[in-house]
């Protein structure tokens, strides 16, 4: 198992995390994944990477530099994203029962290792 896959598996042990995926920021393609059944990893990867890219432009235009962490609350859970440098984005899909605070800490740790 690759180092990236091991890190994703560790993230998946956080309560409520339905899966995580490491995405190539420029392509929106999956680099590594640890996803539960029912999560469309390819769609999550492409759309999340695009969103991070656009938000990066927004925060940089506002003079606030690159985003560090993104949290999207939806009716059925949360989508979390953490850029790992400029080449990768770590994305996690969480259910409504997720410990988002712990997930954030884990993701920032993982993204720091991968950057």
């Amino acid at each position: 198992m690759s180092a990236a896959a091991e890190l994703l598996d560790r993230l998946s042990t956080v309560r409520g995390i339905r899966g995580s995926v490491l995405v190539s920021a420029g392509d929106g393609l999956i680099v590594a994944e640890s996803l539960m059944t029912g999560v469309d990893g390819r769609a999550v990867a492409a759309l999340a990477a695009s969103l991070v890219s656009r938000l990066r432009r927004a925060t940089e235009s506002a003079g606030r530099r690159e985003p560090v962490f993104l949290q999207l609350h939806a009716a059925g859970g949360t989508v979390l994203a953490a850029p790992c440098g400029t080449e990768l984005v770590l994305v996690a899909v969480a259910g409504p029962d997720a410990n988002v605070g712990l997930a954030r800490l884990e993701m920032l740790d993982v993204s720091g290792r991968l950057a």
Partner: protein, 153 residues
């Protein structure tokens, strides 16, 4: 966005809105154009269609050499613009999609929404092909009618 067949329009419009593609061409595997978006000159459409169909045919031969039934898609990565080519089956035969995109999109997005476009086209395609025989004396009239549909002139 222009289409020779009206049932192509709605799925293609959704694809264009979601993928942020700059140029899009749908054609038959022989290079006959079905729909286009972003092209301003008919000669560019016909050139792109012919080249796209030829590229797909060439890569099909490479697939055969390496033992693959066919390649699903082909991406050319440029400096500022990129090209995505993919063949797919429809009730109207094998078609090819050619998509040009830039930094406003990614290959992941284009692939994702192109797959959805294909599914919608297959669902929307009339199951019975129009009863037409293209006779040599009708060829120029058919071509001009297609160009008017594709460019609104």
């Amino acid at each position: 966005m222009r289409a020779v067949e009206p049932w192509v329009k709605a799925p293609l419009e959704r694809f264009l809105a979601e993928s942020s593609a700059r140029l899009t061409l749908l054609m038959t595997s022989s290079g006959q154009v079905v729909a286009q978006h972003g092209f301003t000159r008919s000669v560019d459409v016909m050139t792109a269609a012919a080249l796209g169909a030829a590229i797909v045919a060439s890569t099909q031969e490479i697939a055969r050499l390496v033992g693959e039934p066919r390649f699903l898609s082909l991406v050319h990565q440029g400096v500022t613009q990129h090209v995505f080519l993919s063949g797919f089956e429809t009730p109207r035969g094998r078609w090819i999609g050619l998509v040009v995109f830039d930094g406003e999109s990614t290959v992941g997005l284009v692939q994702l929404f192109f797959d959805r476009l294909v599914a919608e086209l297959v669902a929307a395609a009339p199951r019975e092909a129009p009863a037409q025989r293209v006779l040599p004396e009708n060829f120029e009239r058919e071509l001009n009618a297609s160009l008017r549909a594709l460019f609104g002139r």
